[in-house]
């Protein structure tokens, strides 16, 4: 019989994960029935909550706040140890003392997006109307919905204008949505490895991931939570496929080549003979420990629907007409998920809007994921952009 190794069950139980869903180990802003979140789908979400982290201090004139928008599978734990995985924050290359986003200089905020599963209301949360997990009864959300919720959080924190909104990938989409929806509230915007619309190829990859989740017999049409199970196999497969799109062929080849895992010869089975296979299986299984399958469906859908130009009569420049925000757009040469051409289209639109925009393409073979990695050129540009924007904003180091 041919040997088969399947994806192992997650080390963490569904209960442990669901604790972070409703009782996150970070700040939570509650919004009651008097403050519903008006969703693009026409539903008023209420009550709801947003989980968030902050780093550093808000200065006296409230001018040094930076909002970080996380990517598809990120969360608010941008620069602290993750409560579920025990791993460092996902953007410690960019955020931290001595880093471009230094908490000694800025008041840094990062919230879990609406629809997420680390403390902000989403499909894994309890529906107060039924006392049960929302599941597929949760309304479909969009990137503008996420940003609308963030704006309510920023209001709650008493901040009128954000010094900067920063994000990569889905986070970059939120950055652009922030500038289009609240131009006067964003002094500067750093949009990394992103686009103003999700491409057909990207939608296709997301559909592959969603179908993998929905094909898992444990999914139960989204009702797995009531049964105390999690469609971890389907979600792991979705993550594996997505992970490939975050890398590049060159990076995979450099890292793994065709090297075997703990063996000299092939086993003539479907075991993970190759290092790249066991790497992907590890990525898939560690992801399911911290992420909810339905949340993955909702967030990928939000990205698919994103198209700023469509919301402005098909003319992208109209979205940014007369905007005063200072932009920095960054792309990476080997990113095939959000290629440079997409960033260039954005820059053209910003130029047409007469916006103050910088644009740089960073040469790297590390693919889309480069924005999360220690790529010195990218970090230097981020630092320089924020410093020059800080000068224009009248910020001084250490809020002196």
């Amino acid at each position: 019989m041919v040997g088969v190794q399947s994806i192992p069950s997650p080390a963490i139980t569904a209960d442990e994960r669901s604790h972070e869903v409703d009782h996150p180990s970070s700040h939570v802003a509650q919004f009651g029935s008097e403050q519903p979140l008006r969703l693009d789908c026409g539903v008023d979400l209420s009550p709801f909550q947003i989980a968030y982290q902050t780093y550093g201090e808000l200065n006296a004139d409230r001018s040094n706040a930076i909002l970080i928008c996380h990517a598809l599978t990120g969360d608010q734990h941008v620069a602290n140890v993750h409560p579920v995985t025990g791993k460092p924050g996902w953007w410690e290359t960019l955020v931290g003392p001595g880093r471009p986003l230094d908490p000694n200089e800025y008041f840094i905020i990062c919230s879990n997006v609406i629809g997420g599963c680390m403390g902000s209301t989403g499909p894994a949360s309890i529906n107060p109307a039924t006392g049960k997990v929302w599941g597929l009864d949760f309304p479909v959300i969009t990137i503008p919905d996420m940003v609308r919720a963030q704006a309510m959080l920023i209001d709650r924190l008493g901040i009128d204008t954000l010094f900067a909104v920063v994000g990569g990938s889905m986070g970059g989409m939120q950055v652009l949505q922030w500038t289009a929806a609240y131009p006067s509230r964003v002094f500067s915007a750093l949009a990394i490895a992103c686009s103003t619309r999700h491409s057909a190829q990207n939608i296709a990859f997301h559909e592959l991931g969603r179908q993998a989740v929905m094909a898992d017999p444990d999914w139960h049409h989204g009702g797995y939570a009531d049964r105390g199970i999690h469609p971890h196999r389907g979600l792991a497969v979705a993550r594996m496929a997505a992970h490939i799109t975050y890398l590049s062929d060159a990076a995979l080849h450099r890292k793994f080549g065709r090297r075997m895992q703990d063996r000299e010869l092939p086993t003539f089975s479907f075991d993970a003979d190759f290092q790249v296979e066991s790497y992907l299986r590890y990525q898939g299984s560690s992801f399911v420990e911290r992420f909810d399958a339905n949340s993955y469906l909702y967030l990928t859908r939000a990205m698919d629907y994103f198209d700023i130009a469509a919301d402005h009569g098909g003319v992208l420049a109209k979205a940014f007409a007369g905007i005063q925000t200072r932009f920095c757009v960054v792309s990476f040469t080997s990113d095939w998920l959000f290629p440079t051409s997409e960033s260039r289209a954005l820059v053209h639109a910003l130029n047409a809007s007469s916006a103050r925009v910088s644009f740089a393409e960073i040469e790297t073979d590390r693919g889309h994921d480069a924005f999360l990695l220690d790529v010195p050129e990218f970090l230097d540009i981020s630092r320089a952009f924020l410093q020059s924007a800080g000068k224009a904003r009248g910020l001084t180091a250490n809020n002196a």
Partner: protein
């Protein structure tokens, strides 16, 4: 290609504060303080930095990644792009001045680029090396080979400069597409401006580079 690649002007240091290039100082002097400027082919942003010290709201386009990254690192608003293909994306009258400093000769379509400059900007400032310069003429006449100078050191087969012209040629092009010359300067080999009253043929012979402030002509 970056300006530096196209034309290393190492010999033109002026000894001024910040050691700005002579042609940059001349160009900057043509720009009204407080205006909005696009520098096409801005290299590493030296001219933009000089303009910023004069309260100019400057933007840049640069082809080379290294150049762009250095500019952004200096806090300048610079985008990676190509003068030949990207200027069409800019709306009419977007800038007070559009500057093309030592880049014209490296464009594929200098005439189209020039027309775009004066569509995007109400004024354009163009500087370029003068192929009518006596040293150039001498190299071709006596040496029988394509001219090379300290500022244009590349051989004919590996230069990024593909459309050389003389000051006279440029003036003729401006006439042909109804562009008005508001100011014209020529710099000698040492970056010193030639005396204003000299006739054109002297400029064309002794100007190492030409610097022109242009506006749209009246023809419709």
């Amino acid at each position: 290609m970056s300006v530096q690649e196209a034309l290393p002007l190492g010999g033109l240091a002026t000894g001024q504060p910040g050691d700005f290039r002579a042609d940059h100082v001349l160009v900057a002097n043509m720009v009204k303080p407080g205006s909005k400027v696009l520098d096409v082919g801005c290299g590493e942003g030296d001219l933009l930095q000089l303009l910023e010290t004069r309260g100019v709201d400057g933007r840049g386009i640069e082809l080379s990644r290294e150049g762009v990254n250095r500019c952004v690192a200096k806090g300048l608003a610079v985008v990676q792009g190509d003068a030949d293909t990207d200027l069409v994306n800019y709306p009419d009258d977007a800038f007070d001045y559009v500057i093309l400093s030592q880049t014209l000769q490296a464009t594929r379509q200098p005439k189209v680029v020039l027309e775009n400059l004066l569509r995007i900007g109400r004024r354009a400032i163009v500087s370029f090396p003068n192929f009518g310069f006596w040293k150039m003429r001498l190299q071709l006449l006596i040496g029988g080979h394509m001219p090379r100078t300290e500022n244009l050191p590349a051989s004919w087969y590996d230069t990024a400069n593909i459309h050389f012209c003389t000051i006279k040629d440029f003036v003729e092009l401006c006439d042909a597409i109804d562009v008005k010359m508001e100011r014209a300067e020529a710099l000698d080999l040492y970056g010193r401006p030639l005396r204003l009253r000299m006739p054109w043929w002297v400029w064309n012979l002794f100007g190492e580079q030409g610097v022109f402030l242009l506006t749209r002509g009246g023809r419709t």
